[in-house]
C-alpha cells in the first residue's frame, strides 16, 4: 500500500503533506494496533505467523522506502518515501510485539509495542518538521527538485537549523527523539532470543539486518537531503534568490523541532501519552533510580537489562561540551588566531562553480550502484561532439539516469489498474434511468430472497 504516498504527498501543499504524513498514516497504524491487540489478540504460538508477517512486511517496506528515498531528487517525494520507511519500522515493532505476545512474553510484548508507538509519535514530530521545512524551501525557491537547490543554509539560517534538527532526529541520532525509538526497537529485536522458536529467532535476526541497513541508509539519505538543499553553492537562480521563510512557517517548524528535542530528552512524556492511549504499562521500563530516569529493556530477561538515560546523556553531552570548549580555550590561550575567509581550494584551476559540485544523483551514485538490482537503474549517456564523431572534443555530455520501482511495475500497476476499471464500472451503475434503478431494487429483492434460503 505504499505507492500512493510518494504520489499523494508531493501533490499536496506542504502544510497538508506535513499533516498527511505525520497524522494520517498513523490512523492506519493505530487501526492495526488496536485491531491486533484489542480484538484479535493473539494468545497462542499459532498466531505468531501474523507477527512474523508484520515483521516481514515492516522490514521490507522500511528497506524499500529508504532505498528509494536515498536516490530521489524531489525533496517531497524523498520525504514521502522516508515516511514509508518509518511506517515499516513501526510495523516491525508491532510485529515483534505480536510474536512476543503469542509466546506469552507479556512485558516484552508491551516493550515492543511501546517501541513501535514511540516511533510513530516521534515520526509525527520530525516528519511534520521536515515537511514544513520542505514547504518553506518550496515556498521560497519554487522548486521541489534538489538538483536546483543548494546554499540555503546561508539564505535561510533558521530554517536550516530546524531542518537539521529534523534530519538528525529522523536519522536516529542521539540525543534527539528518533534515537529513543530506534533504541527501543533495537532492544526489542535483541530480545527476540527469548522466543522459544529457532526459526522465528533466525527470521528476526534477518529483520535486524534489514533494520540496521535501513538505519544506515537513512542517515546517508538525510545527509544528502540536508546537504544538497542547504549546503554548498546554490545550483540555480531560484536557490540563489531565496530568503528566510516567513515567521509563521518558522514558528510552526520551531514547535515541531521543540517536540523532537523534548521527546528526545524526556522520552517519558511520550511514554506516558502512549501508556494512556494503549493501556501499556510503560512504567515498568522506566527505572526511576537516579535523578535521570532511564529507559530499560524488560526486566524478565535472564540477563542484566540494557538501559539508557536520555536526560543523563543530555547532561553528559553538555558537560563534555563545556569541558571541550574549556580545554580548547586553554590550549589556545595566548595565541591570537585569525579566521580568514577565502574561496574553496580549486586545485589552482580557478572558477569553481556550481556545475562542479556534487548533485543529488552523483551523491547517491555509490548507493545506487551497490543496490542496482533493486533499483533497476537505466542510464543513458547522450554525447554530442564538436567534430563529427571525434570523441576527444565533446560539446556536451548529459547523463540521464532513471530508476524504476520494481514493486510498482510488477505488482501495483496491474492491481490498481484493475481496481480503477472495476470502480469505474460500478460507478456507471448510476445511469440516470429510473427504470434501471427500479430494476436494481427488484434484483436486490430477489437475490436476498434466494440468499435467505441459503443462510
Amino acid at each position: 500500500m505504499h505507492l500512493w504516498l510518494p504520489k499523494a504527498h508531493p501533490a499536496a501543499p506542504s502544510n497538508m503533506s506535513a499533516l498527511m504524513s505525520a497524522v494520517m498514516i498513523k490512523i492506519a497504524i493505530y487501526g492495526l494496533v488496536r485491531t491486533t491487540f484489542d480484538f484479535a489478540g493473539p494468545s497462542s504460538p499459532d498466531s505468531a505467523w501474523w507477527g512474523l508477517l508484520l515483521i516481514a512486511a515492516g522490514s521490507a517496506s522500511a528497506l524499500i522506502g529508504v532505498l528509494y528515498a536515498a536516490i530521489e531528487k524531489d525533496i517531497k517525494r524523498a520525504l514521502a518515501f522516508s515516511s514509508i520507511e518509518n511506517i515499516g519500522i513501526i510495523i516491525l515493532g508491532l510485529g515483534l510485539s505480536v510474536v512476543f505476545l503469542s509466546y506469552n512474553l507479556k512485558s516484552l510484548a508491551s516493550f515492543a509495542l511501546l517501541a513501535s508507538m514511540m516511533h510513530s509519535l516521534n515520526h509525527a514530530a520530525f516528519k511534520s518538521l521536515l515537511f514544513m521545512g520542505a514547504g518553506s524551501i518550496i515556498f521560497r525557491t519554487h522548486t521541489k527538485n534538489m538538483e536546483q537547490l543548494g546554499g540555503l543554509a546561508k539564505k535561510m539560517p533558521l530554517t536550516s537549523l530546524l531542518f537539521l534538527v529534523g534530519a538528525l532526529a529522523i536519522s536516529g541520532l542521539p540525543p534527539l527523539n528518533g534515537f529513543v525509538s530506534e533504541w527501543l526497537t533495537m532492544q526489542a529485536l535483541l530480545s527476540s532470543y527469548q522466543v522459544p522458536n529457532t526459526l522465528l529467532q533466525i527470521s528476526i535476526s534477518f529483520a535486524s539486518i534489514a533494520f540496521a541497513l535501513t538505519a544506515g541508509i537513512a542517515l546517508a539519505t538525510f545527509v544528502k537531503i540536508f546537504g544538497i538543499s542547504f549546503l554548498s553553492r546554490p545550483r540555480s537562480v531560484h536557490a540563489e534568490r531565496a530568503t528566510e521563510a516567513p515567521k509563521s512557517m518558522i514558528a510552526g517548524m520551531a514547535v515541531a523541532g521543540g517536540m523532537c528535542i523534548i521527546f528526545g530528552f524526556t522520552p517519558f512524556l511520550g511514554i506516558s501519552v502512549i501508556s494512556s492511549a494503549f493501556g501499556v504499562d510503560g512504567s515498568q521500563f522506566i527505572m526511576p533510580t537516579s535523578p535521570f530516569q532511564s529507559l530499560s529493556a524488560p526486566q524478565d530477561a535472564p540477563v542484566t537489562p540494557a538501559s539508557i538515560s536520555m536526560p543523563a546523556l543530555g547532561v553528559m553531552m553538555g558537560s563534555v561540551a563545556a569541558a571541550v570548549i574549556g580545554f580548547i580555550a586553554f590550549a589556545t590561550r595566548g595565541t591570537k588566531t585569525v579566521r580568514r575567509v577565502y574561496s574553496t581550494w580549486d586545485c589552482g584551476f580557478g572558477n569553481l562553480n556550481e556545475r562542479m559540485e556534487y548533485t543529488p544523483t552523483s551523491l547517491s551514485q555509490p548507493i545506487r550502484t551497490v543496490f542496482k538490482s533493486l533499483y533497476r537503474t537505466s542510464t543513458s549517456i547522450d554525447k554530442q561532439y564538436f567534430f563529427g564523431s571525434n570523441a576527444y572534443f565533446k560539446k556536451s555530455i548529459s547523463v540521464n539516469s532513471t530508476s524504476k520501482d520494481v514493486f510498482e511495475d510488477l505488482l501495483y500497476q496491474p492491481l490498481t489498474g484493475a481496481a480503477i476499471a472495476f470502480f469505474d464500472r460500478v460507478r456507471k451503475m448510476q445511469t440516470g434511468k429510473v427504470n434501471a434503478y427500479l430494476l436494481y431494487i427488484m434484483i436486490a429483492l430477489l437475490l436476498l430472497l434466494v440468499l435467505a434460503r441459503l443462510i
Binding site: 543548494g150 532470543y193 535476526s205 541497513l213 595565541t335 577565502y342
Partner: protein, 318 residues
Amino acid sequence: MSETLTLVAIGIFQTIAIIAFAPLLMGIMRKVKARTQKRLGASVLQPYYDLLKLLKKDEVVSDQSSWIFRAAPWVMLVATATAALFVPIFLPFSPFGTAGDILVMLGLFGLARFFIMLAGLDVASAFGGLGTSREMMISALVEPALFLTIFVVSLTLGGTNLSSIVAASAGQFVSGVLIVPSMLFALIAFFVVMLAESGRIPFDNPATHLELTMVHEAMVLEYSGKSLAMIQWSQSIKQAILLALFVNLFIPAGMASSIVGIDTAATSVVSFIAKVLLLSMLVAFIETRTAKWRLFRLPDLLAMAIASSMIGVLFFYL
C-alpha cells in the same frame, strides 16, 4: 555515597585517559607502520605536536561554507568524547553504563559522522562531495554489519550495556571459557567493522590525499587550524574507543572480572595496555600488507562481515 563518587571519579579518569592517549595510539600505529615499511617514521608523539601546532594556527574558511562547516568539528569532538564515557577501558566497568550503552555509543559516532559528511558537502568543492558520497555508502553498509555483531555479542554476553557485557566476557574467561564459537565469528566481523569505522586500509587510507582513494580526508580537506586539530583528535579518540572495545570484548584475558583490589586493577590496566598495543600493531601490519580496496569491492568485505555475524547468530541459536 563516597563509593559512588569514587566510581564516578574512576570513570572520568578512564575517559580522560583514553581521550588523552588516543593520539599516542595513533602515533604508535604510524611508527609501527613506518618501521614495517623499513622507514624510520616520525616520533610516536608526533600527533601531539601536530595537534598543538594546528591549535595555534590561523584558520582558513571557505567563503562558500555555512555555519555547519564551523560547527562540525565541535560536534564531532563532543560526540566522540561523550562516547568515551560509556566504554569500560581498564576496568570491566563504567559508572555511566546505565545512562548509555553500546547503541548510544554508535549513535554518537553517527552524529559525528553526520556532521562531518555535511561539512564535506558544505564547501562546494568536488572533493568534499566525493568524500561524502563514498562515506554515505560505507556507513550505510557498516551499520548492519555492526548491528549484527552487537546482536551476536549481546546474545552471547547478555544485553547491550557495555559494562555488563565486558564484565560478562571477563567472567567467562575467568571461568575457563576461552572462546565461544559465536563470539569468534563476531570477532571477525567486528574487526572488519572496526577498520571501516576508524577509516583504515582497506577501507580508507588515512595518509593519502589522492582523490581516487581518499574518503575521510576528502571530507575534511578544507579544514585547517583549530578545526582540523579537533577533527583529527576526535578521529583518534574514535579509533582508540573501538580498539579498546575490541580488546575488552573479545580478548578478555587479564581483565579483572570485578574491582577487588589494587593488584587486580593494576593487572588489568597493564594487560589492557599490552593488548591494545598489540592490536594496534596488528592493524598497522595489516595496513602494510594490504592495499586499499577499490570502492565497489568494499561492499563485498562488509557483506562478509555481515555473513560472519550471521553465522555467529546461527551458532548461538543452533
